[in-house]
């Protein structure tokens, strides 16, 4: 619950500086929702695929 506030501000701030908000996804899955987990992963994969590879703030090792 407290974590919710933490992530709400984090996501908003990441979006503000220019890192796409969709790269950080927050959700709830309970222990009895195996199916929902599969749905979440499917959805998240699609969302991130649409954004393309990450390039912002990524450290390239020389």
């Amino acid at each position: 619950m407290v974590a919710r506030r933490k992530f709400a501000t984090l996501k908003s701030f990441l979006n503000y500086i220019g890192v796409e908000g969709d790269r950080t996804i927050f959700t709830w899955v309970s222990a009895s929702e195996g199916d929902r987990w599969a749905q979440v992963i499917k959805g998240a994969t699609e969302k991130i695929k649409a954004l393309g590879p990450a390039s912002k703030m990524v450290k390239t090792v020389a």
Binding site: G34, I48, P53
Partner: protein, 72 residues
Amino acid sequence: MAENLANKEWEPKFVAIVCNWCTYAGADLAGISRIQYPTNVRIIRVPCTGRINPFYIVKALQSGADGVLVSG
């Protein structure tokens, strides 16, 4: 990422930071029930979502993750 680019289609790789008691068990259940889901995810288990330092997320992004999923 190199092996991804070599392939025909690019597949994202993302980190899922999940709570031991909720989502991790949920993911476990998905495995037990043999539900098919994409393999683009790398799971990190934490004792509680409250344990997650926002730095984990930023650090994952800096280390080249295409996305971060946080689930409680």
